[in-house]
Symmetry: C2
Subunit: 334 residues, 2 copies
């Protein structure tokens, strides 16, 4: 039923190799034959079968993407970028949503290998041993967004997390805060997350504010969880004078909880986020936050990946790209 290269060949009175050649412009074909073949192709509305092609060329033009949560602002915007750039280079995206669960991530890692993707953009809150193992041995290049693997050279795109938390912490202290809660998305044993703590601590130290471990909360990436966390602070009568969440959603949730309980922002509590997703600007009061070049994070990662796929680039230090960040001041801080 579906028409193949054979049909074209027969109708054009040439061999299938010739048809293949005009399709791929892989070898010279005389003008008259070329024209004839092209005509037949049009006439028959022939489209080469990508699967057959993949089989022999070992090229699928597929890029895998594993994300922790499609419906988050941050990931949505990154996906946007990945998709856009990939399409430019004629790559398609296979999307996998891991729900930030290790099991799922590992499953997808294998699934994508099986689907013969040519590369992978991996967004994970926590890179674990098994991940590293996989990435190290993977037959295709992998680029991480907002994470590093320090044990070996992995491709990675992110901002300077230490500097970013440093900047924000310093800023909040400058505006008069003395007890700044730090709400982090990941777990403390993640290098990336660790950088955030380092920046926070460095700023405290510089400003002679004592570091208090109990002000640091980990593993909060769900809105509900962040809300509950702040609720608990209020119940315990233990509300800091600033809350710095390393993701905007959590910061918004914190603001909601504070507002719902009669606190004034920023007078009673300053609130700061991370990412500068849409909602940071939309929400009232506007959220002071670290602006990341989210789209660029995705697009740079994808370009890097595709370059690597095509071996245009060697595995060297330039495989880690640090993008600029910016402190955006809005009404949630003084």
């Amino acid at each position: 039923m579906t028409i193949t290269i054979k049909d074209v060949a027969k109708k054009a009175n040439v061999s299938i190799s010739t048809v293949s050649r005009v399709i791929n412009k892989s070898k010279p074909v005389s003008d008259d034959i070329r024209e004839r073949v092209e005509e037949v192709i049009k006439e028959l509305n022939y489209e080469p079968n990508q699967i057959a092609r993949s089989l022999v060329m070992k090229k699928t033009n597929l890029i895998g993407v594993i994300v922790p949560d499609i419906s988050s602002f941050f990931v949505g915007e990154i996906l946007n970028a990945i998709e856009q750039i990939a399409k430019v280079y004629n790559y398609d995206i296979i999307l996998c949503n891991s729900y930030a669960e290790r099991e799922q991530e590992l499953k997808y890692l294998n699934l994508l290998m099986n689907k013969h993707v040519e590369g992978l953009v991996f967004i994970s809150y926590k890179i674990q041993k098994e991940h590293k193992e996989f990435i190290k041995n993977a037959k295709f290049p992998v680029v991480l967004i907002n994470r590093f693997i320090k044990e070996f050279e992995s491709m990675s795109v992110s901002i300077d997390n230490e500097k970013a938390t440093y900047d924000m912490t310093k800023y909040l202290i400058g505006k008069g805060s003395k007890s700044i809660a730090l709400i982090r998305s990941g777990d403390s044993d993640d290098m990336f997350i660790n950088d955030q703590l380092l920046g926070y601590q460095k700023a405290l130290k510089e400003e002679s504010v004592e570091y208090n471990r109990s002000l640091v909360y980990d593993g909060i990436f769900k809105i509900e969880k962040a809300y509950k966390l702040v609720e608990k602070m209020i119940e315990d009568d233990n509300v800091p004078d600033a809350i710095f969440a390393t993701n905007d959603d959590a910061a918004i949730a914190a603001m909601n909880c504070l507002l719902d309980n009669g606190y004034k922002i920023p007078e009673d509590v300053q609130v700061a986020g991370f990412h500068d997703t849409q909602i940071a600007k939309l929400f009232r009061p506007g959220l002071t936050t670290i602006k990341q070049p989210i789209f660029d994070l995705g697009s740079v990662a994808t370009r890097m990946l595709i370059k690597k796929i095509n071996e245009d680039v060697e595995l060297n230090e330039s495989n880690v790209k640090i993008m600029p960040h910016e402190l955006i001041k809005r009404e949630s801080s003084k």
Copy 2:
């Protein structure tokens, strides 16, 4: 380098057909041989090549998804559902972001056909002639979310749009509004969008409020555009006493503009949205909106599609599913 069915066959001292049989359990294989083969498979860490398999079986286990804007809340949540359900049935997702542009949509429609997807979930603001043509002739089933094609039986999942806008309009009038701006995402020649107008008009009529064409705005799905629109109303001193946007993002943008210009919500202007995305609840004042079962929209569509792919279902009227909606009252209305 990569290990194939041949390697397994050789090492297990059987033919490749036998190996194939144990992999697919397609025909009986004696216990001892089966065990031997399974052992070798494990030993060699063999994984069947999906591409080769696709070629012969004409089955890719791929579902295409075309969306207008990945980074919107609504689409993100739907994608979430699609991905989740698809994975349950062992299907993967090829993601295409059309930016709501007709050209892109058509391009992707062809691309997906070329990739031999087995089905398509199509989210488009505006189904046009070319789309219909394509869908009608497509070799694979297509399910639309929130759109219908009335010309022929297409699979479709949505809410009852007429009833939803009717409910909301009636509610706003009940709360005292007389001039209700209707801000719609799509264009007026779309059937789906048209239903929204019908519901709006019906409610007005029932409540003896005169219909005023100039209060209906079309083609507003970008936040910026909605903001500008309301800004214009304010400049023209032409602010209605209620704004009903058929998507939450636009409603939030409207609220922002009103708040920024000193208007009180809901005292001066009531605002209502559509979808009940995360932000409707997060924003302050909370947004009164039509709650759609967003996740279900995606999951039902995907299940329907997969069933159709497997021919479990005939093309009949049950191919159009209407999901329930709900009016959620929050502080943006009286």
